[in-house]
Symmetry: C2
Subunit: 456 residues, 2 copies
């Protein structure tokens, strides 16, 4: 027997949950198929648990700086097992909450592995489901690195690290992404020795160059080592640990580690049955439709980098609407990129380089955190708010922040770019004092040559 | 001899500094007259020093909650003298910085008491200055309360409290404003006994009612006492302290205190020489012009409640532009109100009550912090993001937040209202996950009946 729905969503992560709920709200009957964890990778293995760790890093820093802030005898030792236990509790609370949410929103949850079985059909563990539209939100899978020795025990991904729940004494992290730096800072604050091996030239390469450069220079005061233009030549087991040979700017050096953590992920297409409908990947048009009518794809499964859960849920909403007749485009230019580093980084719209490449007559403005009373109060004065605009009409093209609360503030810029705000609009928005956010207005004024608080 | 300028600004606080710098940027010669402290009340006696105290309160809470967050042995005792010393250092750093800033921006600083001396003339300690336009940014003065005994030693204002630099064992704070609650929470966290005597029915009465009610209910778990509909009947010195008789909802009760702190301020008009130009107050039109041509007024001196420094600096910028020929209106409907309480409160635009009174067909939406992963991670789940809109066209009228980082997030709403965003614009803005800010979009979706994460 085949059950009929208007929409079947495969994958119960941020993209799938949003798509399913939105579908029901628009009057459709919706079935949501999830194989493992309600809430998906974000809730169970990434955003939520990892942000608990990075928030803990902030707590460690708060206590560390407390002696300068009126607490002469502040002390706190992090107990990683207690923290990882709290993480497990939070995650299971939210995962149960997600299951409760989708039921409260009248989505029909189906536990099992969803697989396309020809046009309009999905098979889940032997049962068959049918729908006018199928939205694939199957997420991504870990990509184990390819260097010799990468198959060794001790080479783990970040989910395995979270599961182990221990701080390795010596860790090599592969890559310079937001999560690589966040994880490095956390392990460093917990007393671990950390090295980042980054293939590219900088860190946070999805952000404006200046943000990565500034963060890298801030990290010099930590005990973390960052190697750029760096590859792993080989890895071997040694009685002292995992011996990694790194090529760093064409020179080779060997180091010992207890764990090598890799963070690369790619769309999880295996076992989805794409071949039964004639698809080989989940590339979509702007409206998130795949090449096969009636099949939509959203979230990490689509492969738009960087993978971010708020991008996934925004896609989910749009795909559900389009599956039911709308023609809304998903514009990833107005999706913020965030790093829960210390200080936080956040970015939306075009970087200075991208704006130059796109042929704009570019103007930039900046407000240094050194001039911000709130940054001074927070004890974090080495950041910046940078604004990228276009000279002639004053169009706001991008905003890039390295500062406390950056992840909370960047939404102002996301809304501004969405609303096609000008630099003048941002310059004249009244923002509360004393906050980090008020620097947004002064950075915009700086781009217009009338910064009030920033100096030349 | 009389010195000539295009603009003379009286008062070197946030309003005056912004006005003076903006004037120079537009090509004017500008003289800025300040009697006491460069940076004004905000920098020297209010925003900056008090936010250091409230941020310290956050640090205390961080340490207090640390035992639940993976730090089994967290401990920190606040040393108020060390904190007040840090406050003095920060303030003198910023005050010097302000003086440096205005000189770097080519404003001519004059130290002394500025007084109008007829049309287009200002006298400063015997010297005479002349200008085409005068911008008065003279700030506000403390208003000592009027109850019998209010003249007693121990009845102090918040500047005197900051100067004393001690935590009184028993404090009575007059009023339920943002600063009253902030100060109460700080003293409470430092181990002081605190009572708030509030004449009105709620607290945070410049905010949406729901925000004040929720904060009040959160405060029930502190040891602070809040009396509403409360007046001071009399105060007398006793060998055990200051004995205050309070009328609380028509019943009288007596309590002992060491300090009574009052927080009311009104425009500082005395000694300004308003009578020499025929003015009795500094009421202005929307363009910030007083009734006398060529005289503009900005900041606290204008008497628009609540006094906030970001409102003052926004007025300063506009007054300078208008003094030089522009015709820009100052719209205080798009100025955010903020409270650095714990959790923080922030508000912009119309409250639900104001929108009803203005005759709108009101629709509201909410996102509870109980459903926010970041609020859970921060350990602060009893707040809310509330959105007020208009039904027919979906106009966004107001946003009201009680949550961590509210003061940093409210700018998104301030920009949205400035740009005449609709509920749909806010609902569809992609905001980063996991943050408190993302609740803005879900609250807007709730107002449109399609909340994804909030339940009915």
């Amino acid at each position: 027997m085949t059950q009929d729905f208007d929409i079947i969503v495969i994958g119960g992560g941020p993209a799938g949950v949003a798509a399913a709920i939105r579908g029901v709200q628009l009057g459709a009957t919706v079935c949501l198929v999830e194989n493992k964890y309600w809430g998906g990778f974000c809730l169970n293995r990434a955003c939520v648990p990892t942000k608990l760790l990075t928030t803990t890093l902030e707590r460690v820093k708060t206590v560390q700086s407390a002696s300068k802030m009126g607490f002469p005898n502040a002390a706190a030792t992090l107990n990683p097992p207690a923290l990882f236990k709290l993480k497990d509790e939070l995650v299971s609370y939210f995962s149960m909450g997600t299951h409760g949410l989708i039921k409260a929103k009248k989505v029909t949850p189906v536990q099992g592995r969803g697989r396309l079985a020809g046009a309009g059909r999905v098979a889940v563990d032997g049962k068959s489901y049918q729908a006018k539209a199928i939205i694939i939100a199957a997420g991504a899978d870990w990509v184990r690195p390819a260097f010799p020795g990468s198959e060794l025990e001790g080479v783990i991904n970040s989910s395995q690290f979270l599961k182990e729940g221990r701080i390795p004494p010596r860790t090599l992290i592969l890559g310079g992404s937001a999560w690589a730096v966040e994880l490095g800072q956390f392990l460093d604050a917990c007393g671990g020795q950390v090295m980042l091996a980054v293939r590219e030239r900088g860190i946070l390469n999805h952000f404006d160059q200046e943000i990565g450069q500034r963060l890298r220079s801030i990290l010099k005061s930590s005990s973390m080592t960052i190697h750029n233009s760096c590859d792993i030549v080989s890895l071997a087991k040694d009685r002292k640990g995992l011996k990694a040979v790194l090529s760093v700017k064409e020179k080779e050096e060997a180091h010992l580690f207890d764990r090598i953590i890799y963070l690369e992920r790619s769309p999880a297409l295996d076992g989805l049955g794409l071949e039964t409908v004639g698809l080989s990947d989940l590339t979509t048009n702007d409206q998130l439709a795949t090449k096969v009518p009636g099949i939509w794809a959203v979230g990490d499964a689509v492969g738009r980098i960087p993978f971010q859960s708020h991008s996934a849920s925004a896609m989910g909403i749009i795909a559900a609407e389009n599956a039911l007749g709308a023609t809304i485009s998903f514009n990833d230019k107005i999706v913020p990129r965030v790093a829960f580093t210390s200080p936080q980084a956040a970015s939306v719209g075009l970087t200075e380089d991208e704006a130059e490449e796109a042929g704009y007559d570019v103007v930039t403005g900046a407000a240094s955190m050194g001039a911000s009373p709130m940054a001074m109060i927070q004890g974090a004065t080495n950041g910046v708010v940078k604004v990228v605009g276009e000279k002639k009409y004053g169009e706001l093209l991008g905003v890039h922040i390295l500062a406390p609360f950056a992840t909370e503030i960047i939404g102002t810029a996301a809304l501004a770019i969405r609303m096609e705000a000008t630099l003048d609009d941002l310059a004249r928005t009244v923002l509360p004092h004393p906050t980090i956010a008020e620097s947004l207005a002064d950075a915009a004024r700086d781009a217009l040559d009338w910064a009030i608080y920033s100096r030349d």
